[in-house]
Symmetry: C2
Subunit: 385 residues, 2 copies
C-alpha cells in the first residue's frame, strides 16, 4: 500500500480541519507530502491550504470513502472521532494511526485512566459514577473537592465540574447534562505546576519525546507554555519516563500530548493523554529541528523520527478570540513589530470568545524561557480577535 | 487598495511558481496570507500549494489580468520578468515590489554594475562590449582572465564564460550565442571567499539585513551556505554596509540577495544583486526568527520587518538533480534519520542534472557552522534525485 519513501507522491488523510491539521499541512509542504482533510465545513482552517479538502462529517460514509480513496494513511486531529469509525477505516486495509484500539483506550477518560493505572502509571484516584450517592461516597473516601467529568468529548475544561462539597453534586450533574453512566469522578490534585510532554512513536515502536514543558491554563484553556519546564532534572526524567510509558500503554502510534500534574511534594501524576498534536507542542515549530507536526507525519508514514531536542529556551502564548466576529485580528502591525516574536494565525473565518485563533512563539537563544515568554506575551497582548 | 493589517484577507501575487514562491507560500500560511502564483506550467512547485494558481506566461495579458484581479500586491521570484511588464502592472495602480525601476536597474547586469558604481559601491571593473576587439582591449587593460557575460537572463553560471586569453574570445562568443550588444566583460576577481547578505526593505525605507554568510558554488550553482561567514567583524561590517547601500542604490523594496567577493587582501566587492529570495537565504527558515520569505511578505505588504538575527550557527546544502527522471528522491528514509537535519523537498515533477530539487538545513546551537554543515551534508549526501 505504501509507496516506499517517495514522499512527493504520498497523501496523508486527516479527520478534522482545524489548526492542528493546518499546521500539519505546513509541515507536509516542506517534505512534499500532500494532505487531505475531512471537515464539516468548507474553508476550514486546514481546508484552505490542504491539497485536498473533503467536506463532510467523519460519520458520513461517502465522505470517508473519498478520503480513503486519496490517502496512503489516515490520522486525526481530535480524539472525539468514534473509534468504531477508525475500525471501519482499518477494515479497508488502510493504515490508520492512532489506531482504533488506541482511540478506544483514550477517548473514554475512565477507560484511559484504568489503562494507565493497569500499566502501573500514577493517576489521580478516580471512579466511574452512576448515582449522586456514589459521587458523595467518593468524596468522603478521597476528600473534597472532587472533579466531576464527562467520560467523553470534554476539552478545554468543557465537561469538567469542580464539586467543593456534596451540596454541589446536583448543580454539577445538571451542568454536565449527561445521562447517568457517562460520568466519572476524580480526586482533586492540588498541583503546583502543570507539565506536558509530547511523545512520538512509530509503528515499529521507535519512540522519541520532546522536552518537558510547563503549561499555564486560564479558564481551563492552555494559555502559555514554557520550554523547558522549571523543574529539577529528576522530576523531568520522571515525567519523560511516564510519558513514554503512557503512549506505550495505549499502543500509540503518531504524536501524543501527555498532560501531567506536579504536586508540592514532588509527585508527578498523569492527568490526560491526547492522541494528536497538542497545544503544548506548538513551540516545537521554531524550537526543535523537527516539530510535532513534522514528526506526526514521519510517525504515521513509518519514517525515521526527527530530532526533538531544544534549540533554545522557548515560550508560546495562545491567541484566543475575545469577540464574536469575523476577520483578522486588530493590532497586527504592532504585534509584527515585536522583535523575535513568531506569529501563527490560523485564518479561521470567525472569532468567538475563547476560540483558539492563533499563537505566538519566541525563542531566547542563550537566555531563559522567561525571557522568551516576555517577548511572546508582548506580541500576543497587542493582538485582539 | 490595501486592506489595513487584516492579513487573512490579503493575497500576494507572485510572478513565477518555483521553489522560491513555494517557500513563500509556506511562510504565508503561518500568517494567514494567501498566495497567487503565475507560472507557465500547471502543478509547478509553488502552484501545487498556493491558494491560487494561474497558468500562463508573464507576457500573457489575460493571465496577468487574472493575477491582478485577485492580488493586493505583486512580487516576483526571478529577475527575468521584463521590467516593462512591471510597468504595465504598476499602471493599474497595484503596488508592485520590487518596482519596475528597481528591476530595470538590476536585470541588465551592465546597468546594475553602473548603478552600483555610481552609488560609490565597489564592483569589479567591467565594460559593455560589442566586438571581439573591445573584449581584447579590456583584457589587455585589466589583465587576463576576464569573464564574458550575457547582460540579461543569466543564472547559476549560465550566461557566463571565462576567457583565459584572447584565443578564447571566439569560443566564448559562440557559447553565449547572443547578438552583439547584449554582452559585457568583467575583470576576473581572484576571490578567497564568496559572501552573501540578504537585505529586506519596506516602501518606507525601513531596512534590515541578515548575517553575512559564506557561500560555496560548485559548477556555478550554489552548493553550500554557512552562517555566519568565517570572516572578521570588520569585514562583516563592510559587507553589511555595502549590502544595505546596494539595495538603496536600486531603490529596492522586498527581499534582495547581495552576492559579494572577498579577496585575499581583505577587499570586498559586489558581485551581483538578486531582487528576490535567494538560495543563500534558505537557512533563515530555521535559523532566524523571521525567514527571508516571511520578511518578503512583510516588506511587500508594508508591514514591520521581522527579526533577522541568528538563533544558532547554521548551514545549508542544496539538493541538485543528478538524473533526468520523475519522482521523489532515493535515500529518503536514511536522510530523514540524520538527527538535526531539516529537509526541504520542492516537489518538482521532474528532476534534471543540476536542477534545484530541495535543500537541507542544520543548526548547531552552542556549536559552529562547520558542525551544522557536517549534519546537513550527511543528509544531503544520502539523497539522490
Amino acid at each position: 500500500m505504501r509507496k516506499q519513501a517517495r514522499l512527493p507522491q504520498m497523501t496523508v488523510g486527516i479527520l478534522g480541519g482545524g489548526q492542528l491539521a493546518r499546521m500539519t499541512v505546513e509541515a507536509a509542504n516542506r517534505l512534499g507530502i500532500k494532505i487531505a482533510v475531512l471537515e464539516n465545513q468548507e474553508d476550514s482552517s486546514a481546508g484552505q491550504i490542504a491539497a485536498f479538502e473533503i467536506v463532510g462529517h467523519w460519520s458520513d460514509l461517502t465522505a470517508l470513502e473519498s478520503l480513503i480513496a486519496i490517502s496512503d494513511v489516515i490520522t486525526l486531529e481530535n480524539e472525539f472521532v468514534d473509534y468504531q469509525v477508525l475500525q471501519r477505516l482499518e477494515a479497508t486495509g488502510l493504515p490508520v494511526y492512532p489506531s482504533a484500539l488506541t482511540l478506544r483506550l483514550i477517548q473514554d477518560k475512565a477507560v484511559q485512566k484504568q489503562t494507565l493505572g493497569t500499566y502501573g502509571l500514577p493517576v489521580p484516584a478516580f471512579a466511574t459514577v452512576n448515582t449522586p450517592v456514589e459521587i458523595e461516597a467518593f468524596g468522603e473516601k478521597y476528600g473534597w473537592p472532587v472533579i466531576l467529568k464527562a467520560r467523553r468529548n470534554g476539552y478545554d475544561g468543557k465537561g469538567n465540574w469542580k464539586l467543593d462539597d456534596p451540596a454541589d453534586i446536583e448543580a454539577g450533574l445538571k451542568a454536565l447534562d449527561k445521562g447517568l453512566g457517562s460520568l466519572m469522578v476524580e480526586a482533586f490534585v492540588p498541583f503546583v505546576k502543570e507539565l506536558a510532554v509530547m511523545v512520538v512513536r512509530r509503528p515499529s515502536g521507535e519512540i522519541a519525546a520532546y522536552p518537558v514543558v510547563e503549561t499555564v491554563q486560564r479558564d481551563h484553556i492552555c494559555h502559555t507554555v514554557q520550554a523547558p519546564a522549571g523543574v529539577s532534572a529528576e522530576i523531568a526524567e520522571v515525567a519523560l519516563t511516564m510519558a513514554h510509558s503512557a503512549v506505550e500503554a495505549v499502543e500509540g502510534v503518531g504524536v501524543f500530548g501527555v498532560e501531567l500534574f506536579l504536586t508540592g511534594e514532588g509527585i508527578v501524576l498523569i492527568n490526560e493523554l491526547a492522541p494528536r498534536p497538542h497545544n503544548s507542542g506548538h513551540y516545537t515549530i521554531e524550537a526543535c529541528p523537527s516539530s510535532q507536526f513534522d514528526n506526526l507525519l514521519r510517525a504515521v508514514l513509518d519514517l525515521p523520527l526527527g530530532e526533538t531536542g531544544l534549540i533554545a529556551p522557548a515560550a508560546m502564548v495562545n491567541l484566543l478570540g475575545q469577540h464574536q466576529r469575523s476577520g483578522g485580528p486588530d493590532g497586527l502591525e504592532k504585534a509584527l513589530a515585536v522583535r523575535g516574536a513568531s506569529l501563527h494565525l490560523y485564518a479561521k473565518a470567525e472569532s468567538r470568545p475563547g476560540r483558539k485563533m492563533g499563537h505566538v512563539t519566541a525563542l531566547a537563544p542563550g537566555g531563559t524561557s522567561d525571557e522568551a515568554l516576555k517577548i511572546a506575551r508582548q506580541a500576543a497582548d497587542l493582538l485582539e480577535y
